[in-house]
Symmetry: D2
Subunit: 285 residues, 4 copies
């Protein structure tokens, strides 16, 4: 029996310049399209009559970019609606976009800002549109105001409680909007600022507590956001034991470990949040 | 409002030797643990009384490895059951494992086999156990017996139909078992062989058709498997145009592109498959 | 016959906090040590009497970090001198360091700045010390003021000349100092600023010309620098052909390609530059 | 003053099929070209009259592939000679090639063999041709027959001597041929087999000793090889301390660390080896 399925073109790279007389603007995207619909034939017999080629999807991304890109949320919505509205065999479209930031150096000169990636996922089923915005790979660190103690112990526990540790993470956050139209760029700036401020100002007794404060801050700041999902690796920084060399180490020299790492997944949502529909997954259970 | 959440230690790297007089055996794993349960307090107040530290989870992985590792499915199940059964605050445990293969060179010598990664995810909620096995990064290529034509066209379609193309993909497959006890190693070998044979022998009119044949082959070969999910990138190989240099190119010189790529997600399941429960996700919608 | 050889500990990760009452400072490094000397025995017979273990090298990095890190050049020099001066069997030491930048968010809060990596290589042979500073992964783009034409053509040339293209690169630069003592941080800031400004202000007829201007700018700005080596990938941005969709593309929609890419290696040095000695390589031909 | 420089197209990906009635053969390459010569003008003024575009180099790779690829050494030599012989402004050409292996699954079906990459670098200056062959990313492990003790100690030494450890490495080896014509595929097979056998059979007192044995084995097996350079990371496997859990660990449960790692660079050459010329570097000091 054929189960849920979708297909599309992934990682269409795109740079869009806007040229005015004295200044260029630049948008740098990675766009992925996924379509679902009446696709049983191609799975079962290889009959492609209902299949819009992924190459065509790529072409559409470039052609639509010609009209300008105001925000990745709006661009994703426009593409998603196009695929469903123009092809009767396509019932759901999802467009996922990563945006890479650039810092201006001059009227037409830029340096890539490598500190985080902005993301958006727009989904449309012919009737409803869902928008999820997000940020990934934003690495944050507090060098104090973090404790961890009072935890469960068992036969396998060797961890010592601590009253002062480094807390570091790479933020991967996504937030679901309750609507599908708005000032996406402003919302993104607000959400990012709220999250970062919550990380900075929360005196942390666990990374879970910090995660929850970050999600809550987005809900508090951006009224249209109804749910926030965060996945935060705990990038452990271990104090190096310098005693064998006759040295103290009063919280100064640390070894940042690669693996293993803690991983905290959590979410915060409004009590009256509408059901997510297809916002998080094209084929929810 | 606090939403679904879990936490754990990710990417615990582990090599387990078994030493007999004349020969060593080696198992090379990457183990990730995720736990869910009565964890609201640590999110809301930073009270960690219900939190088994991720460091303890790591220790447990190493301690359990001391008893030997027969298969990653059985090892994952044992760990998942331990966390739920030993801690009243933990209601669901999921253990995800990657296994890296090694080729024997001598009684105690090995070369890493880089051709694929075997995976398993074991989930336990105190009553039911779910097992998903899989394989990732298995790169397969057919140099002929692949066509693509008869597809939908629109204003943005430029792709030419083809009667003969290279079909290449990196298999990422996961299959759900209907039970939680069995000869996991045999099942894995059977499933992998069935999938590879289906790829090799299917005359393909679309990657979707090949995907479906691969999923179907696993169901046909391994009776205990009830569902197969496949995610197959279409690694495009474009025929290079040599005409400007006065040369024909009768299907000989190709450019394998990095990005963009097609991406086909699909699944096949038995009509009488039991509901997936927590097999695919710790917090299903 | 045993040829040139060296050994050491690579990628010692290190975070150093400096704590004052109202503010923490943070340095984030990746340190690699390589030692050469009287090491024939360990190669030929496995006699390790002359071998300082790489584990000891790692410990030394951490112990020295306890005294503070003013600049990566000075820290590297101190380590290199230590290994040669303290061990009679070690005749040459090289310490290579990468520094990852962080942006301040608060008195003890930071965000990783992902836009470039600062590097230094300090080498010491018991008599002379050499210092090479550098920067890597600094991605720069000019959206105009770049042409490419008038080139050689042959039977295999299909490239069209262009009067206006995007010029983008990921700067990997290293510059050799003529001395081994100085205000390294100031020099780095000056060199980086000079290079970036040269990229921004050079009207480019080839990436080679831009490379040369960047190297020249470092020599002009920092008197102690005697040689600059640059390796610049040409990150091609191809104008997308929108004509099949009835659209013009007046320099607006581009496809940034991953591979292949041009790669330009070049260097600029002062006429009176001293010979490089071991600055660039521990075992020069 | 302009210093040494070169330019070229890097990472031209290429799959070459050979079609016979009952069977296809496949070669999968990544080709990089670098050219040096009379290139001062493009650096100093942007005059490109002497510059063969990197796009043309890419085209040439594809056009030459049309004639078939017997070995990467021969293909690289042919390309290198072409660039120098056909362009008076180009005096040195270097072609570096990576070859990815595939395992046959059927007459026209293949699975990528991920266990190592074969490499070749061919350099030509109009008179002399140099060939370096190699292998990279071949991960080998001996689970016993490795000791490490008798080393130097100082204030910073904490490492305990060991009589039995896991020895693991990722082989990066390159060997220089004394000629420029031969049965390259046979030589490669012989060299690889000799190296692997030396790793397997050497009772190791240090990774340096193993490295030297591996290099020596290549010289012993392949008479035309005159020098072997090896760079071997020491992939540490640390015995996990299970004592806190009341368990012994008699060499069974290991933690394979990511970073830091030891790194051993060494070379072996024949006493009568000819000077390397441009074999290892286009611009030797």
């Amino acid at each position: 029996m054929l189960g849920p399925n979708n297909y599309g073109k992934a990682e269409v790279r795109l740079v869009r310049l806007t040229r005015t007389e004295n200044r260029h603007d630049l948008v740098d995207l990675n766009v992925s399209v996924a379509l679902a619909g009446d696709l049983a034939d191609t799975h079962l017999t290889g009959d492609n009559a209902n299949v819009l080629p992924t190459d065509t999807q790529k072409n559409t991304v470039y052609a639509f970019a010609r009209d300008g890109i105001d925000s990745i949320e709006a661009f994703g919505l426009r593409l998603a609606r196009h695929f469903v509205d123009s092809q009767s065999t396509i019932s759901v479209a999802r467009v996922s976009i990563e945006e890479y930031g650039w810092r201006r150096l001059g009227p037409h000169s830029f340096a890539r800002a490598g500190d985080a990636v902005r993301t958006a996922v727009a989904t449309y089923d012919g009737a409803t549109a869902w928008v999820v915005s997000g940020i990934s790979d934003l690495v944050l660190l507090n060098s104090t105001d973090s404790e961890f103690h009072g935890f469960l112990t068992d036969r396998y526990t060797t961890l010592a409680p601590t009253q002062d540790r480094i807390l570091a993470t790479a933020v991967n956050a996504r937030w679901r909007h309750g609507d599908a139209e708005g000032n996406w760029n402003q919302r993104f700036d607000d959400a990012q600022e709220a999250m970062v401020q919550a990380f900075v100002t929360t005196y942390s007794l666990s990374l879970q507590q910090t995660l929850h404060a970050m999600g809550q801050a987005v809900l508090d700041r951006v009224p249209e956001v109804v749910e926030v999902q965060l996945s935060l690796p705990n990038r452990h920084h271990f104090l190096v034991d310098l005693a064998p060399f006759g040295l103290e180490n009063p919280g100064e020299v640390y070894y940042p470990a690669d693996r293993p790492y803690g991983l905290i997944d959590g979410s915060v949502l409004r009590e009256d949040a509408p059901p997510p529909g297809l916002a998080w997954s094209m084929s929810p259970s």
